[in-house]
Symmetry: C2
Subunit: 348 residues, 2 copies
Amino acid sequence: MESRNIRLAVIPGDGIGTEVVAEGLKVLEAVGTKIEPTHYDLGAARYHRTGETLPDAVLEELRGYDAILLGAVGDPSVPPGVLERDLLLRLRFEFDHYVNLRPVKLFPGVATPLADTPAENIDMIVVREGTEGLYAGTGGVMRRGTPHEIATQESLNTAYGVERVVRYAFEKAKSRPRKKLTLVHKTNVLTYAGDLWQRTVNRVAEEFPEVTTDYSHIDAASMFFVSQPERFDVVVTDNLFGDIITDLGAAIAGGIGLAASGNINPERSTPSMFEPVHGSAPDIAGQGKADPTATILSVAMLLDHLGLHAESARVEQAVADDIVDRLAGWAGRTTHEIGDDITARVSG
Amino acid sequence: MESRNIRLAVIPGDGIGTEVVAEGLKVLEAVGTKIEPTHYDLGAARYHRTGETLPDAVLEELRGYDAILLGAVGDPSVPPGVLERDLLLRLRFEFDHYVNLRPVKLFPGVATPLADTPAENIDMIVVREGTEGLYAGTGGVMRRGTPHEIATQESLNTAYGVERVVRYAFEKAKSRPRKKLTLVHKTNVLTYAGDLWQRTVNRVAEEFPEVTTDYSHIDAASMFFVSQPERFDVVVTDNLFGDIITDLGAAIAGGIGLAASGNINPERSTPSMFEPVHGSAPDIAGQGKADPTATILSVAMLLDHLGLHAESARVEQAVADDIVDRLAGWAGRTTHEIGDDITARVSG
Ligand SMILES: CC(C)[C@H](C(=O)O)[C@@H](O)C(=O)O
Ligand SMILES: CC(C)[C@H](C(=O)O)[C@@H](O)C(=O)O
């Protein structure tokens, strides 16, 4: 099988981002794809040096790539929200990554914090909307710093934005053995947005008679993730609920060190972007302590998205094998060592 | 010790609400308080009969009580949000229940779904804001049912509303052995509201030098509830994040059957309202399957709020003892039987 050339933009970002991305690239090379990686130094360092987060010219350049691999952005030296909004979220918005795809899957051999939960009980995919809701960033503040301050945030939801992600989620559900889709929202309190989401799911469901649909309020869903994770197959939800539930998903599936994600534009009119769910973890940065597995699994998602299904499967299998071996005496490998071990399996 | 008279408004509500409230009242009588309960038939049945959710005259009558005991509201025969908004949330808003107090405490002997977690690791109190945020209900819809529909929801946050609940949370933290307060929010995305919350915590913290403060994003906090619940002592958060995190808290502390809550007006200018965290559970209603323990623990919170500390402690102890006995061969007692067993311990 011939691999096609991949033009890959690499944004290592901040903190442990650079460390884990290096391992992801090693695996990507070892799996035998012809990649042309180009590094972009976006993140806290550049912000401090030049004041720039994501210059328009760089954004336009990025548009020309097949995909983007991102490590993590965020640093305590930058005010909260600046890099998140102006770099990470801006990429998601400008490239219309309306599907934020986050598998929640317990690999056999991984310790889950949940007692008595066999690996097969935790095997779902969360389809998080990526371009609207409370992430639109609208809102404001008045009389800041006074006793009369008011601060608002607005959740913007459109039929266009909701329908396309719901449709994607139904397609996903249709392709999986259990064919079940659960809408997670809070329709009893967020009545306007909830009504739009629920009506959209009901309408699209008619086109997918083979898919069973279910509904859970976000509060109940958070409980069920812990008490009955087997309830879920494909979950579709809005941007903020998806953010919360996928971190919870990472926790039950063995921790944030293993959670991968793809910010996807299914029409492929822009490069999709793959990144571990974890953040930049400044407290452990530079110490070789970060687990690069989440990034390596994000690389597997990237390969799959680009149609390199065999390569994707090999990377995922290498991770699964590495994890089984952790059971038999893994003790404190460094970021590099984990990357090397998985690389060896992929090449071998 | 003389108990004072309590004028109690009782709103059993829908589904299992009536079943669990009956047991709560039994315990309340057994503990030796002189209560004068008055029942109000608010909920789905009345809504269907008269179209009323909470008539203004009833609201004014309720204002005259010392406290309210509520079971649960919500029924599939009523459109989502109607009873929640017009009855439950209206009571919280009209009576300015700005503190929604939700202990997350693992009783010794209760099985937590978390592996390797000793009971003492799960012992926190969530102080959820109860009167603003996304629960304000503002927002709207345009071009409903068309491809051009947009639906919005607005989160309203005021310095007045945030400061008073933050101050309450600091007082709570100060009174507890660990004296730690964690703000849970999403300051990197909800920048306007997050900034107000964070600045308020920073400012009030100066008045409480003995309290350690910490911050966690809601996504990370959801993860930590599962992986490191011992991080938390007192959590302060907004209305929606508090809703989510306390259901998750209920899950890790042994399930929704045990989770109590108080909707509190600390100034006592209105009656505070106590209710189990669980809903009306129409699927098991009328079958005697509901666990009344959450309501009985809510009764303990009610007694404590009214200054009846000894009685409150006796109810809590009776529950703790009942739970220890569940270990030794509890198998499927009915709602009544659990209520009777706890009542016997309280009286005996
Ligand atoms: C860093 C932050 C803006 C981001 C989000 O909230 O989407 C992160 O938590 C994630 O889940 O990718
Ligand atoms: C029924 C619903 C409106 C309510 C809420 O969201 O506050 C419930 O989930 C709760 O936590 O008391």
